[in-house]
Symmetry: C2
Subunit: 216 residues, 2 copies
């Protein structure tokens, strides 16, 4: 327990550092936290393993910074969907948000893979994820999608807990299981055609076609 010399170099970022963050997220998503060795991450980034302690201190800190970067993308997405489109009614906003999230998850499946991998077990990373992003997303879905009436084909008195996990699961599972889907059906979920068809199906299921009135 002697002073383990903190290695904080707060100087501005180098291209190497950015590359490491990108491949780290991919490796954590594909192999899991334990399965992604620091040597494998460094090799994918084309650098020596010693760069990880050098830039990030520990593997855990690297994980947090790589995941935290993805969080910022999600926040920007939600903010865009919330503020974008001035005169949209709740139903149209729900449709737009579903389509945006589908396209994002298709483009960056690593995000949902890390979230689901850590959310299934106790531990500091699960707690960190919940406190830093999941709760925020949950509240947006509950308040701005569900309670605002944008998800017309769900019971109005449903506990948001169920709505949230049904919606998230329905949106993300196809892209989370992309390699499985590739072997099962021969089709690549990241193909634009598949992505848009998936968004269409989700909108039809959760939002429905706009009728004159919207009773449940």
């Amino acid at each position: 327990m002697a002073q383990p010399a903190p290695r904080e170099r707060l100087q501005s970022d180098a291209p190497t550092r950015e590359r490491m963050l990108g491949v780290a997220l991919e490796a954590f998503a594909e192999l899991g936290y334990d399965g992604a060795s620091t040597r494998a991450i460094a090799a994918r980034a084309g650098v020596n393993q010693g760069m990880i302690p050098y830039y990030f201190g520990t593997k855990e800190a690297l994980w947090r910074e790589a995941v935290g970067r993805a969080f910022e993308e999600v926040r920007a997405l939600m903010e865009e969907a919330r503020a974008g489109g001035s005169p949209l009614d709740d139903r149209a906003r729900a449709e737009q948000m579903i389509r945006q999230v589908v396209r994002f998850v298709a483009r960056r499946p690593e995000f949902v893979r890390v979230m689901n991998d850590e959310g299934k077990r106790e531990g500091p990373r699960m707690e960190w994820i919940v406190d830093h992003l999941v709760r925020e997303v949950f509240e947006v879905v509950r308040d701005q999608l569900y309670r605002a009436g944008g998800l017309a084909r769900l019971p109005a008195d449903l506990d948001p807990l169920h709505l949230y996990y049904i919606l998230i699961g329905a949106i993300t599972m196809l892209f989370h299981q992309a390699p499985e889907c590739q072997r099962l059906t021969g089709r690549d979920p990241s193909d634009e055609e598949v992505v848009e068809a998936h968004a269409d199906a989700l909108v039809a299921l959760f939002v429905g076609e706009p009728p004159r009135s919207s009773p449940t």
Copy 2:
């Protein structure tokens, strides 16, 4: 000499081999294939690590046998739901199957955790899972639920690929992410009340309004 002397037959009612298969599935589900060490599995089963090579040869073979056992449970569940409804119309059969699967996943979340963990990356275990179970489940969902007309609130011309992953994701995500949900909402997804409410919501979304009083 110098033995850790006292002989404690911790015999927890199950034969050693069976006990090992049970805890192995739990460990693989919680920690992932790499994260679940053979020493940890043996310790949870209360046996020496050497029992794993002795009974199963390799860690990979232990994984296959533990997962294969869970597959048999799923097959029995599907067969029960399929044969159980001779006088049931397609809609009622779809409702019953959804409710059965929800209860199963709530009772054994390890199953879906292993499936999703392996289905997200290439590798022999993903291929083994797809060839030994996923394809079979996919065809049951496609032919006996969707094409039979039991999922009335989905477009009739939807590619089964989308239907499958939307349905599976919507059903399982809550239980897959149980620790996350516990921290997020303070509620335990395995509580019977939550389980049944989840099934109700899914039936309402995919089939239509749930007829109360159904012969379980």
